[in-house]
Symmetry: C2
């Protein structure tokens, strides 16, 4: 397929470790960590948290804690010792967090946000904010890279499927195209999965990891599309809620809830 | 799924650039470059070429040429200037090559063979030798890593699907299991594609690249399963034909030809 004039690129990169291979000039990077960092961040800002400062290391998070910040820290699916919460979306619905700044470090998600932050525009994606995010991306109409957080630099199913959903919706709008096989494969994964997301992801290694941690409720929450009409955007090192109402909604043809 | 005793691991790694992430102790590495290096290598040894020395760089290939070796060199889908052939399987059916040693360098495939060569056993896979290879791997019953050559360290569709086919057949035999999402995703890709491989791969970036080079006949050849009952194995730095007759054939449930 030769490039079609006026279509912008949308591509899916499977993990931060492959980010350097996607060197084309993308204007917008969408960071995804469905289980659970970006679902939690989106939920937090929707529920009234003022801003979230993503940090890469637990040490950095500890420094903020000493200064009196509310700080969440997760590694390998668990709350890090010495912190009150990790990346469960439910933790961020707490009304006492409203209007506050929260600092967060997670195994994969905050690392992906950090490496993407050199780009002009970094926004946060998850299944929870799928349609509003796609509507906004289509309105922007710029070259868009979807950066999946993966699992320790390997691909994971849930982020690939979410990335494939965004790419599929944007390409179906005929305003975007893709040229990378990673994107084509992610689209196929999404199309295979969308009618039965929950059972499809039974096979996911990360879901198995989370089941061991007894957080089925979180997993169900994170795998439910379009429950949180909020787009987090990175501004001066902190994620805040983008003020946005879609002029025209872009939605997937069909998607299991 | 908890690990099942006696089952060996089979995993798919999407590109040489991710090989370091698959650190578990694999006994066998299967290198795949469907379009076209491993299809050509398998064809060559089946058609009577004595052995193939894979080298990484064009300079190294030139050194061999000066010494009088038959040398193939491909970069970006084209025969490198100064060489007589690249990685078209048809080039290796030439009867004058029978009993000879051939030196080969390609964009992705020979690099993957090089990085895998530290392992005890390296064999060559493609769609052309799918069933005989799976039969042999099942008989060995060892932890097996399928290393896709990809395209310049990115994932590609045809290698992922071929890797997914091998993993699927081995797991269906109930002698193997996988724990990585990369393998689960490759299996799904294969199952989506197997009834209509040719049209599925229409979307592949590499196939588009090859179509531009007018080598449709090669592509059709490489995408046809089970035409070449030959397993190339790396021995002392050279690929030779493994002497093997399956005791019991393992085959895919169904596969488009």
């Amino acid at each position: 397929m030769p490039p079609i004039t006026n279509r912008k690129l949308v591509e899916v990169c499977y993990s931060p470790g492959q980010y350097h291979l996607y060197q084309e000039d993308f204007d917008i990077v969408v960071v995804i960590d469905v289980l659970r960092a970006t679902s939690a961040i989106t939920t937090a800002l929707h529920c009234g948290v003022e801003s979230i400062i993503p940090v890469s290391s637990v040490d950095e998070a500890l420094e903020y804690k000493k200064k009196g910040f509310i700080v969440g820290a997760e590694r390998d699916g668990r709350v890090v010792e010495g912190f009150d919460f990790g990346n469960s979306p439910y933790a961020y619905m707490d009304p006492t967090m409203q209007g506050k700044t929260v600092v967060l470090t997670t195994t994969n998600g905050t690392k992906a946000i950090q490496i993407a932050s050199e780009r002009k525009t970094v926004v946060i994606g998850c299944l929870n904010n799928l349609d509003i995010l796609c509507s906004w991306l289509a309105e922007q109409h710029k070259n868009t890279l979807i950066l999946a957080s993966g699992w320790k630099d390997k691909v994971n199913l849930e982020d690939t499927i979410c990335g494939g959903a965004i790419a599929d919706i944007l390409i179906e709008s005929r305003k975007f195209q893709c040229v990378e096989d990673s994107t084509v494969a992610a689209k196929f994964m999404y199309r295979s999965a969308r009618q039965h997301l929950w059972s499809f992801l039974r096979a996911s290694s990360h879901r198995r990891r989370l089941i061991k941690l007894n957080i089925q409720r979180d997993v169900k929450y994170c795998l439910t599309a379009n429950t949180v009409p909020c787009i987090p955007i990175l501004e001066n090192g902190a994620l805040v809620k983008l003020q946005y109402e879609p002029k025209e909604w872009l939605t997937a043809e069909s998607l299991a809830h």
